[in-house]
C-alpha cells in the first residue's frame, strides 16, 4: 500500500479503499503468473483467475467442476454451475470426463480451493467441526470435488478469508483432502500426483511450501501486518522465512480491472 496505510485490523477494510476481498483476490491473481490450466472454485478463485487472465497470465484457461472450460461469461458467475458460464465457452464436457480425464487425468496446473481448516502440511478440512464424526458440532458442505482436485492437480492454491487459530490448526477435526505428506503415511491408495498446497493467501499474508515433507512457511505479510501477529493467529508453531517480504500493494490498474470490469455490482467484493 501507499503512504498512509493504516495498521491491519480485523475488519474488512485494509486500506482507505481496499477491502480484504480485493486484497486476497489480487494476491491470488499474482500467484497465478505463468500458470495455464486452473481449476477454480466459485467466488474469489474465479475472480482471481479472471484477473490473472487480464494481467499476469493471459493464456490461462479456467476449468470448472461443472465441466465448463474456457468460459467468457457476460455476467459474473454466481456458482460453478451457473448457466451464465456456458454461452461462448470453449467446451462443456461431461462430468465423467471432468473428474476422470481432467482432474484424475492430471491435466490441471493449479487447483484453487478454500477450506474451513488447514494444517501445517496443507491438509484441508471441509467436512465437519467437532470431535464426533457421527454427530459433529457443525456439519460443513463436505468434499465436493476437493479431494480429487488435491489428488490430481500439480499444485493447490488455498485462499482463506480469515487467518485465525481456529482455521490454521495443529490437528484437523477431519482430514477431507489430505496433503501428500499425510497421504504418504498411509499404505493404501494412489499417491497424489502433485505437490498439494503450495500457496496460501490470507488476510494477513502469504505462506508457501513446495516439497512433500515441507511445512507451510510465512514468506510475506501484507503491509502493516506484524509477522508475530501472524504466528499468534496460527494454531501451530509457524515457520517464518528469514527473507520475509512485504507484499506489494494492489496497483490502481489491478483495482480498476477488478472493480470496474469483473465485479462492478460487488457480488464477491464485499
Amino acid at each position: 500500500m501507499t503512504a498512509g496505510t493504516p495498521e491491519h485490523t480485523d475488519t474488512k477494510s485494509i486500506g482507505e479503499d481496499v477491502t480484504s476481498s480485493e486484497l486476497l483476490t489480487i494476491h491470488s491473481a499474482r500467484a497465478l503468473a505463468g500458470r495455464r490450466v486452473v481449476f477454480a472454485g466459485h467466488g474469489l478463485p474465479t475472480l482471481a483467475t479472471s484477473l490473472a487472465q487480464r494481467t499476469v497470465a493471459p493464456e490461462i484457461e479456467i476449468v470448472y467442476e461443472s465441466g465448463v472450460t474456457g468460459a467468457r461469461p457476460p455476467d459474473l458467475p454466481r456458482t460453478i454451475s451457473d448457466s451464465v458460464l456456458v454461452p461462448g465457452a470453449a467446451s462443456v464436457i461431461p462430468m465423467t470426463h471432468l473428474f476422470n480425464y481432467v482432474l484424475q487425468g492430471q491435466r490441471i496446473d493449479v487447483g484453487f480451493l478454500g477450506a474451513a481448516q488447514v494444517d501445517r502440511y496443507g491438509s484441508l478440512n471441509s467436512t465437519l467441526i467437532g470431535d464426533d464424526w457421527e454427530h459433529p458440532d457443525s456439519r460443513l458442505p463436505g468434499s465436493g470435488g476437493a479431494i480429487e482436485a488435491m489428488a490430481g492437480a500439480a499444485e493447490i492454491f488455498l485462499v482463506m478469508r480469515r487467518h485465525t487459530p481456529r482455521t490454521f490448526v495443529e490437528t484437523l477435526d477431519f482430514v477431507t483432502s489430505p496433503s501428500p505428506h499425510r497421504a504418504a503415511q498411509s499404505e493404501v491408495g494412489t499417491m497424489p500426483a502433485g505437490a498439494g498446497v503450495t500457496h496460501v493467501i490470507t488476510d494477513l499474508g502469504i505462506m508457501t511450501r513446495f516439497a512433500q515433507d515441507e511445512e507451510l512457511t510465512l514468506t510475506a505479510v501484507h503491509p502493516g501486518v506484524d509477522p508475530a501477529e501472524v504466528v499468534r493467529q496460527t494454531g501451530w508453531d509457524l515457520q517464518v522465512a528469514t527473507d520475509l517480504e512485504a507484499t506489494h500493494a494492489p496497483t490502481p490498474e489491478e483495482l480498476a480491472v477488478l472493480r470496474d470490469d469483473l465485479d462492478p455490482t460487488r457480488i464477491y467484493l464485499r
Binding site: S66, S83, T96, H135, G189
Partner: protein, 304 residues
C-alpha cells in the same frame, strides 16, 4: 412406443416406499418437480442419491420421505446451509439419517460402475483421507500391475433414477445441453428411469441432431413434460436460476416448523407442478428470462 405420461402417474408407477432413488442434476436441469411429486405422494423410507445437494434434499427430509442419503456435498449450493439436513446429522433431529458419504469423484465413479454393471470402480483419490476411514464402503484392491493397492467405490444402482432435460421425443430419446452433470450415468445405472423435460418435441427435431441425445429411448421408462420443472435451478436456453428462492430457503429452514408450513402450502395443498408455480406469482419467471444464443447448425449429411 409412446412413453409419455403425467408426473403423478410416472412417480406412482415407478417408485416404491423403501427404494433408493437418484435425483441428479448439478445446479442445472435438477428434477425439482419430481422431488415435489414424491413429497406430494407421501413416499417414505427412501434413500436419496444426490451427488451435490440443494433445496430438494431439505424438502424431502422435512417431508419425512428419507431415511438415507448418499451424497458428496451437503450445502445449498452457494446459498448457505441445508438446515433440515444439519439437524438430522448434528442432532438426529427429528430422527437419525443414514448418511453414505463420498466425494464428487467418488459419486461419479459409483454411478459409472452402476451404469456399467461392474461391482466397483477404482479411483486414484482417497489415500490419506478420513473419508476412507469413516465410510466402510470405500475399499481397496491390489494392483496386479505392480502399483500400491488402489481404492475402489461400489456400484450405485438406484431402484429409480429421475433426471430433467430440455427435450425428448415421445419414445424417450432425451436431449440436453449446457452442464450435463452425472445424468447419463445415473440414467443407465437406474433399474427404472423417469425423464422430465421442458418440452416433448417431434422426433424429427431429435433426429436432426443425434449426437445431442444423452440417453437413448431403450433406457427410458417414462417421459413427462414438466415446463419449469427445474426451478429454482436454471435450464440452459429456457430460464435462469432463481438465487433469491434458494437463499430464502436457507434462511427459512433454520426453523423446522416453517419448513412444515411451506411444504403444506406449496406441495401438499397444490395438485401438481403447475399449481406450485402459480403460487410463485404470475410474473415470477419474468425476471428469470434469458437472452437467446443459438448454436451454429452442423451438417450431418451422408451418402445421397
Amino acid at each position: 412406443m409412446d412413453k409419455t405420461m403425467s408426473l403423478s402417474e410416472a412417480i406412482s408407477a415407478h417408485l416404491n416406499d423403501g427404494d433408493t432413488v437418484a435425483l441428479e442434476g448439478f445446479g442445472h436441469l435438477v428434477p425439482v418437480a419430481a422431488a415435489h411429486e414424491i413429497i406430494r405422494q407421501r413416499f417414505s423410507n427412501l434413500t436419496l442419491a444426490r451427488m451435490s445437494c440443494d433445496v430438494i434434499v431439505d424438502q424431502l427430509l422435512g417431508a419425512n420421505c428419507l431415511t438415507g442419503l448418499i451424497a458428496a456435498f451437503v450445502a445449498n449450493s452457494s446459498a448457505g446451509s441445508l438446515y433440515e439436513l444439519r439437524r438430522r446429522v448434528e442432532h438426529s433431529d427429528p430422527e437419525p439419517l443414514w448418511f453414505d458419504e463420498y466425494s464428487h469423484g467418488g459419486m461419479v465413479a459409483r454411478y459409472q460402475a452402476g451404469a456399467s454393471k461392474l461391482p466397483f470402480q477404482p479411483i486414484a483419490s482417497y489415500r490419506g483421507s478420513d473419508l476412507a476411514q469413516k465410510n466402510p464402503r470405500i475399499k481397496a484392491v491390489g494392483d496386479p500391475f505392480g502399483g500400491p493397492p488402489i481404492y475402489v467405490v461400489p456400484a450405485l444402482n438406484p431402484d429409480l433414477t429421475v433426471i430433467h432435460a430440455q427435450r425428448a421425443d415421445s419414445a424417450g430419446n432425451v436431449q440436453a445441453w449446457g452442464m450435463l452433470g452425472i445424468q447419463t450415468e445415473a440414467a443407465f445405472a437406474g433399474r427404472r428411469l423417469i425423464v422430465t423435460v421442458e418440452e416433448i418435441v417431434d422426433e424429427s427435431i431429435i433426429r436432426s441432431d443425434p449426437n445431442r441425445t444423452i440417453v437413448p429411448s431403450h433406457v427410458v421408462d417414462a417421459v413427462v413434460e414438466v415446463p419449469r420443472g427445474a426451478h429454482p435451478h436454471a435450464v440452459q436456453g429456457y430460464y435462469d436460476r432463481d438465487d433469491a428462492f434458494s437463499r430464502d430457503w436457507s434462511a427459512m429452514a433454520r426453523d423446522a416448523e416453517s419448513v412444515k408450513q411451506w411444504l403444506q402450502t406449496n406441495i401438499h395443498d397444490t395438485a401438481d407442478h403447475e399449481e406450485f408455480l402459480a403460487l410463485l406469482g404470475a410474473d415470477h419467471f419474468d425476471k428469470l428470462g434469458i437472452r437467446d444464443a443459438y448454436s451454429t447448425p452442423v451438417n450431418y449429411g451422408g451418402r445421397e
